[in-house]
Structures are given as structure tokens and as C-alpha cells.
Amino acid sequence: MRKLLSLTIFALASSTVFAGGYRVSIQGQKQLAMGHTGVAIVNSAETAFFNPAGMAYLKDKFNLSVGGSALFSKTRFQNSEYNWKASSDNVGTPFNVYATYKVTDWLTAGLAVYTPYGSSVEWDQDWQGAHLVNNIDLKAIFIQPTFSIRVGDEFSFGGGPILATGSVNFNRNLSLNPLLSANGSGSDVTLDSTGITAWGYNVGFMFNPTSKLRLGFNYRSEIIMEARDGDATYADLPDFNQIPNTTFNADLPLPAEITSGLSYQVTDKWLVAFDYNYTMWNVYTDLDVKFGNGTESINPRNYKNTSTYRVGTQYVANDKFTFRAGWYFDESPVQNGYFAPETPRNESMGYTGGLTYQLNPKFGIDLSLLYLHFDEIDNSYDYSTDPVSGTANPDFGGTYKSSVFSPGVGVTYSF
């Protein structure tokens, strides 16, 4: 079983890429369908992510939820002052595996594997914003052994350490100045680092003042992914500016997230839920890349903390069918003037839906659907520096418009 699980993870990881922005809120098919609420919901093993405290209230002895989504992300860019057009289309496959086992009446153990952060953006090589990014592929898998303890029917708490493992691959041109180019292709550098690991934790508690109302609180810690001795590979350098390949060190923070929320069982069949996320993005002040050859590239990011407001509902129609729907509003951590095409993400509204088809009391199939709507936005990145002159580059900006669509499927097995 254990061997099979790890094989599955690696098979998925090799094809895992993510959509624009680098927090990807797809951590369970049932909860995604409910607007990705879940801090105060006890539905399935997915609670191992949303609030480990909830695991102790799962009815069955064993619960397994395995799911994945196909994430279609599209970003369009244009600038009518210079008649520029560019686009980035990406497909990602966030996935999750959750298992819980009721050790005793009051103690439940579990394992959660999920992919909460990632980014994949791929513009045309040497496009107008190539000095900021040509392409980026950031992957992170969180592995979280978890326990949950209940104190009667009113209160529970739980948590577990997180082992985060990730990789990053990033390519950009050294300069927008054609001076640094060879045969018409801009000089570029690829930063590649794999097998980055770091530790964090996920804790929560749940309080059930009545049989219908649950309150939940969850805190997932910050994790700094420290790339050390990654490969910096240069290409298309002009004859007069040959730079030997070198190494690089860089830190990428995966921010802490605080979630609080409630759910209310309106009738036997009908549940509503509200979640509030507060993400501590301000840890991401700049992307500071130190190269093995002594040079350094400091890229201000200046992210701000963000709030996300989520609403979800679930209706159990009969033994076979359960329907879910949700909505959320997601702020962007990117401030004006820091809108880099590497994470071209402005605030969005998510519309979600889904259903469960329960084949039998043990085995069910979950379907989910996410549509993220972004308004078009005029913004720019104003803080890049030209390595030739050492002076500021002209601002790079225009109008961006993104959309994200993601159907997902999952299975649950419990007894």
C-alpha cells in the first residue's frame, strides 16, 4: 500500500503544473465544489487539509479520498501603445490524497498529500516581457501525517507536521537590450532547482456548540523553500559576454494561512458554510537570487496580505446523489506597480459546483468544477533593473486578462 502510494505520487508529480498565481486552492473535490470552504465541515477525509481537528468526527473507521483536477489557465496580455500581444496557456494537475483511520473513539490518525502552491506560466520565448520572465514552473507537494483528538462531541483539535518538497524552473532574458543577444535571440538564464525540502505544520480546532453548528479554526504555517546550489544555465550569450554556467541560491516563501469559518446544518439535507482565509503574503518582499559567480539579482515583489471570502452549500438529495455549489472572492497579493507577468494574478471570483454519486455506502465518485473569473486589469512592473547599464528598466505593463477553468474528479472509499 505504502509503496503504491508513493509511486502514484511520483507519477502525478512528474506531470504536475499549476495555473497563474502560486497559491492553488484545489485541495479536495467535495470542498472545492462548495467554494473551497471546509474549516468547519466534516464531510470526508478532505478535512485532513481543511482542518485536521475535523478528522476525529468522521463516522467511519477508515476514510480515503483521492482526487485530481485538470486546471486550464489562460492569460492574455496586450498593450495598445506599442501594439503588443502575448499569451500564456497552461494546463496543471493539482491532486490530493487523504486517508484517516480511527485508532480509538477519541483519536484519529491520518495522512494528507496535496499541492497547495504552484505556478506555471509560459510566454513566447523573447516576448516583450522576456526580461521579467519567459517561463516559470514551480511545484510543491505537501505531505502531512496528521492526528486528531476529540473531547466529547463539542470540541476537537488536531494537526501534524508538513514535509514540503518542491522544484522550480525559471527562465528569463538578461536584458531587454538587444545588445545582449546572439543571432537575434536574447541572452537568457535558466534557474533550475529540484528536490527542495522544508518543514512546516498544520493545526486546527473545531467547536460544535450545538448539533447543527460547527465553528472551525485552522493555521497552516509558513514554509520557506530554500533552493541551494541550483543550476544557473546561460544561453544565447553574445561572443563578447560569455558567462560560465554557475549555481544559485534563492528563497521562495510559501506563506502562512489562517482560516476561520462556520457551517450550519439548516435541515437534515441542507448544509451551508462560510470560510475566511487570511494569507500572510507579506513575507514575499523580494525574489533575491544569489549566483555562484558572486552576482545577485534582487527582484522586489512587495506582496501584501490577502483575504479570501468563501461561501458553500451542500444538498443531500438521496442516498445516491449529493449536490454542491459555492462562490468565493479572492484578493490578489500583488500591489500596483509590482504586477509581473511571472504571476499575472489580480483579484478573482470563483464559481464552483459539483456532485457526489455514491455507488454504494462505501464507494463514491466526486465531480467538481471551478471557474475563476478575472476582470481585465491595467498594471505594470516598475522595479526591474538593466544589468548592462545598472539603471532602472522602463516600466513593463499593459492590460492583462486571465481565466481559469478546472474540472476535477475524485473517489472516496470508507468503511
Binding site: 495598445s80 501603445e81 548592462v388
Partner: protein, 523 residues
């Protein structure tokens, strides 16, 4: 029922997957030609129109000629095909013209020496006739009246013919303007006239100011064209008409074409005249303070003493060991004191040497901030004049720089007067036809203090001086012509003029994405 539901769901999902993010307004939603018609755009002019840079025409440079860049923007508002003279022969992108002295390869920065040099290699550009009229009819070296001269492209007429026009003249009797008009322009740019004064300036004023001489047939290559002749020729080019000298001429705007005419920049905004300081003679430059002392004792002191006796002591001052000293130059506008100096020096130097000194220093003086030292003179300073023995074997220090090395104030005045007169004529002829004017004189004047472009980048009229300022430099390594980035700035300025005058709206170029200098690892 159930199948139908699934079918519809699949359709809806497929629709969402392919759902394209759409902008409220397409990138080109507001682009318009306005009152202009860009379907046949023709550019006439000289090297600035041809895309000349780094001292020559070469393939990759020509691709960034301002008319070619403009035509790419015109294409967003109905512009048609734009053709340029072929440089396919320039397979190694070297420029120059094969077999003609003085037409060397393009200038590059040699990274190994950090100096501008002609790129190594032999030009493969020939005078093989293409016999084709192109949309870009910029002919490097052409003066205003050359556009109307039949046979300007006839190789039998060398040296009066122009090798660049020889390459593409449609016949041995064709005129540049006549070839241009075969393209039936609906829109034109006309930036001619700079060479009518600039060739005088870039040769240090050795030519003649022909103001008052109305017959351009008698002009030398480095003379200043008479402003009345210029105005007449310019009117013919734009308006057409008949003249005794050129017969019946069809002008650019005669068939209703709209266009832009450009004024002629002042020489003080061109790095060719502003890069080399008038006072580079420091103690370090002459090999130490002891050499300054020696120069004062042996040459400057006696010279000043003698000149003072003749009431001209202000021409020479003793050299300073601590500050930059001015170059020694010949000013042909000064009273020639050769005889007096010869007489004064004879007792100490002997008759023969005294006569030589007298002839060398008779009109010598030290340069001032009002003199402009040509860029090419930087390679002359300190070198030995032909056949001159020590100690007078150092140009600018012990031997006066000559007329061709310096623009003295009287020459600058002649240039400024002609430039102003030409620009007045250009503006008045444009006004009479309601043509747009790109005031390149004013635009390049702004560059002297730094021009802030719409993207926030600041550009200057400085000559290349290293990596730290490279992204601000708009002039190529010949010091006279813009580089590709500079031509993009010029195209933008013309677009501004067109947008304002003809109520057009078309996109700009972003000059930051165009190359400034060209660097080779070794040469």
C-alpha cells in the same frame, strides 16, 4: 433524459475549456489612419532616410531605417507594402561598398580594445544596378538639388554621380524624385537638406559658403547651398513646377498626397561636434608636468612674447600643469602674422626655421569653448603632421590643428544661418500645403539636455561612452547618424506629428527594444 444531461454537461465543459479571455477593447480597437492614406508611403531624403548608421549602409541597420519602422506602424492603419533598396549582397552584414575608397565597413566597438573600429572584413556590396524604384528613396549623401538632377545615378557621371543611387536608379537619366513618384505616393516623408550644410560642417568648414551663388552646378561637395536655391528646390520637390535648371518636376504632394516634412538639425545637437572637448591637453596627456614646463619655456612662452609685441598676445596663453589646456588651432579668420613672427624668431632660430615657425603660427591661437572639435579630430590630436619634424610634430599641442579639424565660430555662424534659412523655407512651404512638420531641429535640441520618452527612459545626444550610459545613447558610432534605437525615437516623433496633424492614431515603437551600439568580442 439522463444521456441528454450528460451530453449537455460535456458540451458545456468543452465550451468552458476553450473559453478565451477577451479584452473589452482589442489592442487595435482605436487605431485609425485619420485623414491620411498610408496605402502607398514613399520616403525621400538622404542618409537619415536610407537608414545609414555606423558610417555606412548595412543590411541589419537598413532594416531599422525610420521609414521602414514607420511603415510597420502604418500597417496597423492600412499601410501598404514598403520596399527598400536591396542589401542582400551584404551577406556578412559589414556595409561599405566594394572597391570604392572611403566607403569602409561599419563601425563597431571592439570589446578587446573598447574602441570604435571598422569591423574586419571586406565589403560585398557592389554597384550592380537594381534599376528599381523603391518606397524608401533615401540616398546617402544627397543634397536637396541632387533629388532633381538627371544622371545622379549614372555610373558614367562619377564623381558627380552617387554610388548609392547608381545601385537602384531606374535609368541613367532618372532622378531620385522621379523614381519616387513612380510609386504614386499617397503619403510621403521628406527629410532632405541636411547635407546642404552638414557636409560643410563635417569637413570642418573647408568648403565654401555659397550663399549668393544661385548655380548649384558650380558648388563643390562640401559647400553650403545658397538658401534661395534651397527654397526653390524644396518647393519643386514638394509642390512640383517648372524651373530653368530642372525643367518640369512633379512634386510629392502634387497628386494630393499628404505627408510630413522634417527640418534640419543644428550641428550643436550632434555628437560628432560635441564629443571632443576643446581643452584635452593635460599634464598627463603630454607625459607629465615637466613637459608642460618645457612646452612653456620652449614654445608657448616665446610665442606669446612675440605675439604680445604685435598686439595679439591673447591668441596664446601659457599652459597650466594642473588644468586642461586648450588645443592649438589655426584660425583662418585671424590676421596673418607670419612675416612678423618670422622676423621676431630669426635672431634665435635662424632665417629658415624662423620662416617655417612664422608660417605655422601666423594664424594660430588656442581653442576656446566656442570652437567645435570634430569627432574625427580625436584621432589626429598628438599625431605628427606630414613632414613636420620635432618639436612641432604634435597636432593640437605643438602644431595647430587645421581648418578641417575644427569648426571655428565664423564657420558655425555660416552653418547656423544656412540651417535657419533652410528650416524657415521648409516650414513655410509645408504651411502653404498644410503638410505636417517634424521639427527635428527642435527634437534633437531637446536631446542635448535629455529627452524623456513615454516609457520613462531618458535619451541623450551623447556619443557612446561605456556600458553605464549605453541605453541612453541614440547616435551610432559615426557620431552623425542615429543608431537603430535613435531611428525608433525619430519614427516615434514623426508618429506624434502624424497623429496630431492628420488625426490618426497608431501605435508607437518602444526604443528600448532596439539596439544601440554593436559590439564584437575581437576585431
Amino acid at each position: 433524459m439522463k444521456n441528454k444531461f450528460i451530453y449537455l454537461s460535456v458540451l458545456a465543459m468543452a465550451g468552458l475549456v476553450s473559453c478565451e479571455p477577451e479584452f473589452e477593447n482589442a489592442v487595435d480597437a482605436n487605431y485609425t489612419a485619420g485623414e491620411a492614406d498610408f496605402s502607398s508611403y514613399v520616403a525621400v531624403g538622404n542618409s537619415l532616410t536610407a537608414g545609414y548608421m555606423d558610417g555606412t549602409m548595412y543590411k541589419s541597420g537598413q532594416a531599422n531605417s525610420f521609414p521602414n519602422l514607420l511603415s510597420q506602424q502604418f500597417a496597423t492603419v492600412g499601410g501598404g507594402v514598403f520596399t527598400q533598396p536591396s542589401y542582400e549582397e551584404d551577406v556578412n552584414n559589414l556595409g561599405g561598398i566594394s572597391g570604392i575608397p572611403g566607403f569602409g565597413t561599419r563601425r563597431v566597438i571592439n570589446f578587446a580594445t573598447s574602441a570604435p573600429e571598422n569591423i574586419a572584413g571586406t565589403s560585398t556590396i557592389t554597384l550592380t544596378p537594381q534599376a528599381t524604384a523603391y518606397n524608401n528613396m533615401g540616398v546617402p549623401g544627397a543634397k536637396s538639388f541632387h533629388l532633381l538632377v538627371p544622371g545622379y545615378g549614372n555610373p558614367a557621371n562619377f564623381p558627380a554621380a552617387n554610388p548609392y543611387y547608381v545601385r537602384h536608379a531606374t535609368s541613367n537619366t532618372a532622378t531620385v524624385l522621379g523614381d519616387a513618384m513612380t510609386k504614386n505616393p499617397t503619403f510621403f516623408t521628406n527629410w532632405i537638406g541636411a547635407n546642404d550644410v552638414l557636409s560643410y560642417a563635417t569637413t570642418g568648414g573647408v568648403g565654401v559658403d555659397q550663399t549668393g551663388n544661385f548655380n548649384p552646378q558650380t558648388y563643390g561637395p562640401n559647400d553650403i547651398t545658397d538658401p534661395t536655391v534651397f527654397a526653390g528646390v524644396y518647393s519643386l520637390i514638394v509642390n512640383g513646377g517648372t524651373s530653368p535648371a530642372f525643367g518640369a518636376v512633379t512634386g510629392l504632394s502634387q497628386n494630393g498626397a499628404k505627408g510630413v516634412v522634417a527640418t534640419i538639425p543644428s550641428v550643436t545637437s550632434i555628437p560628432f561636434f560635441t564629443t571632443v572637448p576643446y581643452n584635452p591637453v593635460t599634464a598627463a596627456a603630454v607625459g607629465g608636468a615637466s613637459n608642460i614646463t618645457a612646452l612653456n619655456a620652449q614654445l608657448y612662452g616665446p610665442l606669446k612674447q612675440a605675439l604680445t609685441a604685435f598686439g595679439a598676445g591673447s591668441r596664446i596663453n601659457l599652459l597650466s600643469a594642473t588644468a586642461g589646456n586648450p588645443l592649438l588651432i589655426k584660425d583662418e579668420s585671424l590676421t596673418n602674422l607670419s612675416a612678423q613672427l618670422t622676423a621676431a624668431f630669426t635672431p634665435t632660430l635662424g632665417a629658415a626655421t624662423a620662416a617655417f615657425y612664422g608660417s605655422v603660427f601666423g594664424q594660430a591661437r588656442q581653442a576656446t569653448a566656442d570652437d567645435l572639435v570634430l569627432l574625427t579630430t580625436s584621432g589626429v590630436i598628438g599625431t605628427a603632421p606630414t613632414g613636420v619634424p620635432a618639436p612641432l610634430d604634435k597636432y593640437g599641442v605643438t602644431y595647430p590643428l587645421q581648418d578641417q579639424h575644427i569648426l571655428i565660430p565664423s564657420e558655425q555662424l555660416a552653418i547656423a544661418n544656412a540651417t535657419n534659412a533652410y528650416n524657415a523655407a521648409i516650414k513655410s512651404i509645408a504651411a502653404s500645403k498644410n503638410l505636417a512638420v517634424a521639427d527635428m531641429n527642435a527634437i534633437l535640441g531637446v536631446l542635448v539636455n535629455g529627452l524623456r520618452s513615454v516609457n520613462g527612459q531618458i535619451y541623450t545626444a551623447n556619443y557612446f561612452s561605456g556600458a553605464a550610459t549605453e541605453n541612453k545613447v541614440l547616435f551610432s558610432l559615426d557620431g552623425v547618424h542615429p543608431n537603430s534605437r535613435g531611428y525608433a525615437v525619430i519614427a516615434n516623433e514623426i508618429i506624434k506629428v502624424i497623429n496630431a496633424h492628420y488625426k490618426s492614431n497608431m501605435p508607437f515603437l518602444n526604443p528600448s527594444y532596439f539596439p544601440g551600439i554593436n559590439v564584437v568580442a575581437t576585431n
